[in-house]
């Protein structure tokens, strides 16, 4: 089964007449890791957040197709929106774990779209979910941390929990909004590797926002370059010339 995302004419203006995203067209399918790079304030985060509707787009369509069924995420409200959000995993820059809950409880948060409030309150999650959670903890290398509180973990460990929580949703698309920007270089590489592997393993596309061009070159199968709210590059990572980076980031001293 393949899953795909098809964005057409996506516009987001936080203040009318001053769009942050200027008509984005983008197709993402298959299983690869797509890196979105570009300078700060160019709308990368807004683009990612429009997909799972943490930000409401001003106009345009975002079609999420999975198992032969397509839904326009941009037009959803209420229950339909919540049900489709369950299909989209999200990893955050600052991990956004619930600090006072344990690692296991944080993972099970990924199933909150599927369990009722009474069961969630009593922590009565289906046994299959609990087993999936233990498996994922092993996968991300935190097998012994199930009962640790999230605020006792280091940055890299927290992001692993963040990824595991997103994977708990059994998502059709995995989004990551600057997942390595709060981490040291070594941990950043490990996190990128984990995202790439998990995308391939679960047969889903992974879309990652990032600042770090080197990291994108090393791990991305495809790079989207954004500048001024538009897509200015779309292609293989080795096609990113210095000339081009100069154009989207400006200046050249940093190259």
């Amino acid at each position: 089964m393949s899953h795909s995302l098809e964005i057409r004419g996506l516009v987001k203006a936080y203040t009318p007449g001053n769009p942050v995203l200027k008509s984005i067209d983008l197709d993402v399918d298959g299983t690869g890791l797509t890196a979105i790079i570009g300078p700060s304030g160019t709308g990368k985060s807004t683009l990612i957040r429009c997909i799972n509707r943490l930000v409401d787009p001003t106009s345009g369509t975002i079609n999420l197709c999975s198992d032969g069924r397509c839904v326009d995420l941009a037009g959803l409200k209420g229950r339909a929106l919540r049900e489709n959000r369950r299909l989209i995993g999200m990893v955050f820059q600052e991990f956004n774990l619930v600090e006072r809950l344990t690692v296991m409880e944080n993972l099970l948060c990924g199933r909150l779209g599927y369990v009722g409030a009474w069961a969630a309150w009593r922590r009565k999650f289906p046994q299959a979910d609990v087993e999936h959670a233990f498996d994922l903890l092993e996968t991300v290398g935190l097998g012994d941390f199930a009962n640790q509180r999230a605020d006792a973990l280091s940055g890299g460990q927290r992001q692993r929990v963040g990824i595991a929580r997103a994977l708990m949703q059994r998502p059709k698309v995995l989004l990551a909004d600057e997942p390595t920007s709060s981490l040291d270089p070594k941990t950043s590489f490990e996190i990128m590797l984990l995202l790439k592997e998990q995308g391939r393993l679960n047969n889903i596309p992974v879309i990652v926002n990032m600042h770090d061009v080197e990291l994108a070159r090393r791990y991305a199968d495809r790079v989207i370059g954004m500048s001024g709210g538009q897509i200015v590059y779309d292609g293989a990572p080795d096609g990113l010339s210095d000339e081009f980076l100069k154009q989207i980031y400006g200046g050249e001293a940093w190259l």
Partner: protein, 265 residues
């Protein structure tokens, strides 16, 4: 500002606010003025001390012969305090959530906050007088008065605590597609639970003290016997009652510390 010398910059780093000084000075002047208006004087204070000494002398020995009256009043006070605290907390939980402006639409949060503010606006004793007139003498009036007072106090604290939570954790739960009740249970509650426990134990402490007072206006509890003992100049019984109340408050404090220790970790 390249032309400013370093001396000038240092002198402006901690600028003295003239208005703060003026306000502090005005407050000081008013305190002296108010004291003179009320007629505080050293002679008045000394003659007052004299009176106090005689009052204290009459408290001894404490009267231990009316234990049945004491026990009846104290147990009623305890019941009022516990019932009012439990009911007040249970009502404040949803009301506080409704009053949180970061999670609720404006019309609902303002309605809830107005309701909470009305509950807080009257002192528990005035509230007790109102309820005595409304439902008659006895513990029911006292309990209702303290329920209202509890809502007014912890309802606001709950709402404010929810407004101070980290949006990031809520956002992450929202992104999983969780419905609102689950969002509250996993995104909001863990962030505020320990503070809620603190507020609740504080309210129980507050209700224990207030439950000894509503009896003065006939709303049940030890306040009734205490007031009539005062009026009979039965100061040795007054002393027994006061010591009992102090002991209850101290025990309540120890209990509250224990509860907090259990939940704060």
């Amino acid at each position: 500002m390249l032309s400013t010398t370093s001396a000038q910059r240092v002198s402006t780093a901690f600028r003295v606010d003239l208005w703060t000084r003026v306000l502090v000075l005005l407050l000081f002047v008013y305190v002296i003025y108010a004291a003179s208006q009320i007629g505080f004087s050293w002679e008045r204070f000394v003659s007052g001390l004299d009176n106090g000494a005689r009052f204290l002398k009459r408290m001894f020995p404490p009267d231990l012969s009316k234990m049945d009256i004491l026990w009846k009043g104290i147990s009623e006070s305890l019941q009022i305090a516990v019932l009012a605290s439990v009911a007040g907390i249970l009502i404040s939980l949803p009301l506080g959530l409704m009053g949180a402006r970061n999670l609720m639409p404006a019309w609902l949060s303002w309605t809830a906050r107005t309701l909470i503010a009305i509950c807080r606006s009257l002192h528990p004793v005035i509230m007790a007088i109102l309820f005595v007139k409304a439902v008659g003498f006895g513990a029911l009036a006292g309990t209702l008065a303290l329920v209202v007072a509890s809502i007014g106090f912890i309802g606001k604290l709950f709402a404010d605590a929810i407004e101070e939570i980290s949006e990031k954790q809520v956002e992450a739960i929202r992104a999983t597609g969780a419905p609102f009740p689950n969002l509250v249970l996993f995104g909001v509650l863990p962030q505020v639970l320990s503070r809620f426990i603190g507020f609740s134990t504080y309210q129980l402490d507050s209700n224990l003290r207030n439950s000894t007072m509503v009896g003065i206006v006939g709303a049940g509890g030890i306040g009734g016997p205490l007031f009539s003992a005062f009026q009979r100049f039965d100061y040795s019984f007054v002393f027994t009652i006061l010591v009992t109340i102090i002991m209850i408050i101290v025990v309540g404090e120890l209990l509250a510390n224990y509860v907090k220790k259990v939940f704060y970790v």
